[in-house]
């Protein structure tokens, strides 16, 4: 319901959006590219303009298990904002990606220098990325589509 690339950026005021984008460079990833690995240092982050990225974890005996996918407009990576600045999951490109790429250290420095910018960016990461994904994760925990625990045949489907 938003223009690609605007979902995360659209939550920022114009001034702070421009300030953030001043740190950005264009970046492309081909399908299959590994963007980052679990527990590696979180030195960059991305805002996707197109494509699809899978967040995954390595599970013994199962290999790479996909937890979630991110598409256009979404923030890829928030571990760069919070200590210990290491990725909690890995990321692999499923469909070719065009993105804004940011180096984390100068953005973190700008957050420290400009509390208004820092507050808004942190709020945006918390609400648009972390909060939304947390809500989605909690819904998935309910396993809504599984067989009802108390089978009810009284509801039209």
């Amino acid at each position: 319901m938003t223009t690609a690339g605007q979902q995360f950026l659209g939550a920022l005021s114009a001034a702070h959006r421009d300030r953030l984008l001043a740190f950005a460079r264009d970046r492309s990833f081909p399908a299959g590219a590994r963007v980052f690995d679990e527990d590696a240092e979180a030195l960059r982050f991305w805002i996707l303009r197109s494509g699809l990225v899978a967040l995954d974890a390595q599970v013994p005996g199962q290999g790479s298990v996909v937890m979630e996918t991110l598409g256009p407009g979404e923030l890829l990576g928030w571990s760069w904002l919070f200590e210990p600045y290491r990725w909690h999951l890995g990321a692999q490109v499923r469909e070719p990606v065009e993105a804004y790429e940011f180096d984390a250290p100068p953005v973190r420095a700008a957050i420290e220098e400009d509390p208004a910018f820092g507050l808004e960016l942190t709020r945006c990461v918390a609400s648009v990325a972390i909060g939304r994904r947390l809500r989605a994760c909690r819904i998935r925990l309910l396993d809504l589509y599984g067989v009802p625990h108390v089978p009810s045949e009284g509801s039209p489907a």
Partner: protein
């Protein structure tokens, strides 16, 4: 007033065929053995009898004159009997019951389905795509537990070719799944519809309906333009038994399709 007119008399319908759609779900095509019931509208439901087992409510997933297609998930004795009904056998059908989807004549259309909730929305998609030129953006967002739980994947590909933006996500990907993973609400921002001018249709588990409707309102889709299909225990279908009561609503009459501005205050009341 006759029993037929009041919807209390089941009429015999012949099973034309059943076809598995997922490991526990089948489409069942019925046609009247004699006198047909009044024509069903998309979103309405029928009470379907497996003789000797009982009856359950089923929404219509396609209407072709008096021929009905229903989608049944086997979760108990009656649904199991219907899912396995042999071609040529007879079932009883009452209906049509309840409110249908109010499909607009133009504008953007957003359809959000969770699990078997795609079945009652299928006639909406087909109606919109049959007059595709009248509509703006048409998006169909589908969520399911896993790839093998997706209803009619071949048909959803046809919808894409007919001009709908179809996005699918699963909670539990299997080996080889290359699509989206996550809940269906995470697809909303890729729907490319204009919120203020969109008619939204939502069907699935109630938690998914609530989450989707809230996200749509947050994105400025007017609550009265969001239609949801609610589930409560349907029994008589005629507003007498009260099993389907949701606050002031008897959903077999005032539902199952209800606008979100009416449903929202009721769904926030615990134990209602």
């Amino acid at each position: 007033m006759t029993a037929l007119m009041t919807g209390t008399l089941p009429l015999p319908y012949r099973v034309v065929r059943t076809a598995d759609e997922t490991p526990d779900t089948a489409g069942i095509v019925l046609e009247p053995s004699g006198t047909p019931l009044p024509e069903f509208c998309p979103g309405q439901f029928a009470m379907v009898y497996a003789f000797g087992a009982g009856d359950i409510p089923l929404s219509v997933s396609a209407v072709d004159g008096h021929r009905l297609t229903l989608t049944v998930r086997s979760v108990g004795a009656v649904s199991g009997a219907l899912r396995n009904a042999a071609a040529g056998s007879t079932v009883g059908v009452r209906g049509p019951f309840g409110t249908g989807w109010d499909v607009p004549a133009d504008g953007d259309v957003l359809i959000v389905a969770g699990g078997i909730g795609l079945a009652p929305l299928r006639p909406v998609v087909r109606r919109v795509l049959a007059a595709r030129e009248r509509y703006g953006q048409v998006a169909v967002l589908i969520g399911a537990r896993g790839p093998r739980d997706l209803l009619r994947p071949g048909e959803t590909r046809e919808w894409q070719e007919a001009g709908a933006r179809v996005l699918t996500t699963v909670d539990r990907p299997a080996q080889g799944w290359s699509g989206d993973v996550g809940v269906v609400t995470m697809l909303l921002d890729r729907a490319a519809v204009a919120p203020a001018g969109t008619a939204a249709f939502v069907c699935g588990p109630e938690v998914m309906i609530r989450a989707t409707a809230r996200e749509l309102v947050h994105r400025s889709v007017p609550a009265e333009r969001i239609q949801v299909s609610l589930e409560r225990t349907m029994h008589c279908g005629t507003g007498h038994c009260g099993h389907c009561q949701l606050g002031p609503l008897l959903l077999c009459l005032a539902g199952p399709v209800v606008p979100w501005d009416r449903a929202r205050p009721l769904l926030s009341v615990r134990e209602l």
